[in-house]
């Protein structure tokens, strides 16, 4: 069985996680690997949680870097930065990738109250990501859907054809009853062939199958939004319930596509 890989998870500290039985709201590398083991997942792309903005995510990036050393191939780091920090953000990205082996850049418009149309803020980071040969993940989160639409991701992606852009949470706006339109995602992905999407927070089987049929099975990644949502749920959904897919297609969504994107061993 090819590797099962989660394309959207968090590690570090968030007091809310105490509500899930995590002592002190901390999820360290060893605990995270135990969670992976319990769910039958081989590895995960992990970012610092949003609450870490208070220290520009430094402590949690350190925890993730330590976890990558202790559990290579299982904890895969995603560098999260605040674009308004300018050169400090660029330095954090270059150090995380160049010195510590992080595999991608996460940008979340809630972190600095911007929109994906603020190109003067975003473009320097995309240029750096292109130089570092890493994918860029744009979180298209529930409350902020209007600041990070899939169409905005497509516009950016067209300007950087060598970079792969991940439209996180399948665009989210309009899905699960949230404001916005679920009709944004597929046209954006068709417009920009260097985009893929990721299922974090979306557990509606038909929506995912429809998207796969529209853009191709190699452009959808399994993501969980763990630990805010249980890490195991998308795996169950894809492997056991998306039964129009054949086994090879399920394996691509559940890990093969992320392995290809990050150039990980099969």
């Amino acid at each position: 069985m090819p590797r099962i890989l989660d394309a959207h998870a968090y590690m570090g500290a968030d007091p809310q996680w105490a509500q899930l039985g995590m002592r002190g709201g901390r999820l360290d590398a060893d605990s995270f690997v135990r969670v992976l083991d319990g769910a039958g997942i081989d590895g995960a792309l992990v970012a610092p949680p949003g609450i870490g903005i208070a220290d520009d995510f430094k402590n949690d990036l350190d925890r993730i870097a330590d976890g990558m050393k202790r559990h290579p191939g299982r904890i895969i780091g995603l560098c999260r930065v605040r674009p308004r920090k300018g050169t400090a953000a660029l330095s954090s990205l270059r150090r995380s990738v160049g010195d510590r082996g992080f595999s991608g850049l996460l940008l979340h418009t809630s972190d600095d109250e911007y929109t994906l149309k603020d190109r003067s803020l975003i473009d320097p980071l995309i240029v750096a990501a292109a130089d570092l040969k890493i994918p860029v993940i744009f979180d298209t989160e529930d409350r902020l859907w209007a600041s990070c639409l899939p169409s905005m991701v497509a516009d950016i992606a067209l300007g950087f054809p060598s970079v792969t852009f991940v439209i996180a949470r399948m665009g989210f706006g309009g899905i699960n009853g949230w404001p916005g339109s679920p009709q944004e995602l597929v046209p954006a992905m068709k417009k920009a062939p260097n985009t893929v999407t990721e299922t974090g927070s979306v557990l509606l089987s038909k929506f995912i199958q429809d998207t796969i049929e529209a853009v191709g099975v190699d452009r959808v990644l399994m993501g969980s939004n763990a630990p805010y949502m249980p890490i195991e749920l998308p795996k169950i959904m894809i492997l056991k319930n998306l039964n129009k897919l054949n086994q090879r297609e399920k394996e691509l969504v559940a890990g093969g596509n992320l392995a290809r994107l990050l150039k990980l061993p099969a």
């Binding site: 509500q19 557990l203 089987s205 038909k206 199958q209 949502m229 249980p230 959904m237 129009k244």
Partner: protein, 269 residues
């Protein structure tokens, strides 16, 4: 022996979209039992799917009636009505419950473009459901959530203290902040988790009102029916095993009076 798992929110019937998950269409009782068996779910409370609105849900409710008969103790029926049909809706509810063994009423304001605070429309149906001694289930949240707010269910529930009211989807998204005040105000209300996979939010509710007031629901087959019980059993680890067993099945049995206890939620514990 492990506790039985019950799903408090599911659908059956002729929804062409379900073919996208490789399911048979129409999905009937046989399909549901097969799905439950491979998902570790013992029983489910099943409503007709929303696409049957134009036919007043009758073909799918006939399918549910057949499934109740064929799989007693595993398939439980929700009678879905359009309140603007007035006495016809009341009569249909009574017939489905008394003659076909349906266990609950289901209402969704999308079905007839109405609001749960339109008491002129709502009261005859709620009154009939209360007299029949069944569970009353209400969809809340979503893009039309303004018409079906949890606090409106609380307003109804306080007038029928011996009837169980389920607040579907935990008011998600958009109205989850009304859940705890409503549950505190009306002790005969419960929430049901379908479509809401945020365990921190659920734990916050449990901390305030207790583990007896939450039932898992899947929204299946729109979402995989296995997901909510995996969420509660494996990922909500502030809960004791006893609390998990209540949420994944014990509360369902109490609310549907499967063990012969007749009291509404807040009065039985």
């Amino acid at each position: 022996m492990a506790s039985l798992v019950y799903d408090a929110h599911a659908y059956l019937g002729n929804n062409p979209g379900w073919a996208q998950m490789g399911l048979p269409v129409p999905l009937d009782g046989d399909g549901w039992v097969e799905m439950m068996d491979r998902s570790g779910v013992h029983g489910a409370l099943i409503a007709p799917q929303g696409g049957g609105r134009e036919q007043f849900f009758r073909p799918d409710m006939d399918r549910i009636a057949a499934a109740i008969k064929k799989y007693p103790g595993r398939i439980f029926g929700m009678c879905r009505v359009r309140p603007r049909s007035g006495q016809e809706a009341v009569d249909e509810l009574r017939r489905r419950v008394e003659e076909q063994g349906f266990s609950a009423l289901k209402m969704n304001t999308l079905d007839d473009n109405y609001r749960f605070d339109d008491r002129k429309l709502m009261d005859p149906i709620v009154e009939a459901g209360a007299r029949l001694g069944i569970l009353l289930y209400f969809h809340t949240g979503d893009r039309h959530g303004e018409t079906c707010q949890p606090k409106m269910i609380g307003d109804l529930a306080v007038e029928y203290p011996d009837t169980n009211f389920n607040i579907g989807h935990v008011g998600y998204p958009g109205f989850t902040d009304q859940i705890i005040p409503t549950l505190k105000r009306a002790p005969n209300t419960n929430v049901e988790t379908a479509g809401m996979f945020l365990p921190i939010l659920l734990q916050n509710v449990i901390d305030e009102v207790g583990a007896t007031r939450i039932l898992i629901g899947s929204n299946g087959p729109n979402s995989a029916i296995e997901l909510p019980h995996v969420m509660v059993s494996k990922y909500m680890n502030k809960l004791t095993p006893e609390q998990k067993a209540l949420i994944t099945g014990g509360n369902f049995r109490r609310v549907l009076k499967l063990d012969g206890r007749g009291a509404a939620a807040g009065r039985s514990r």
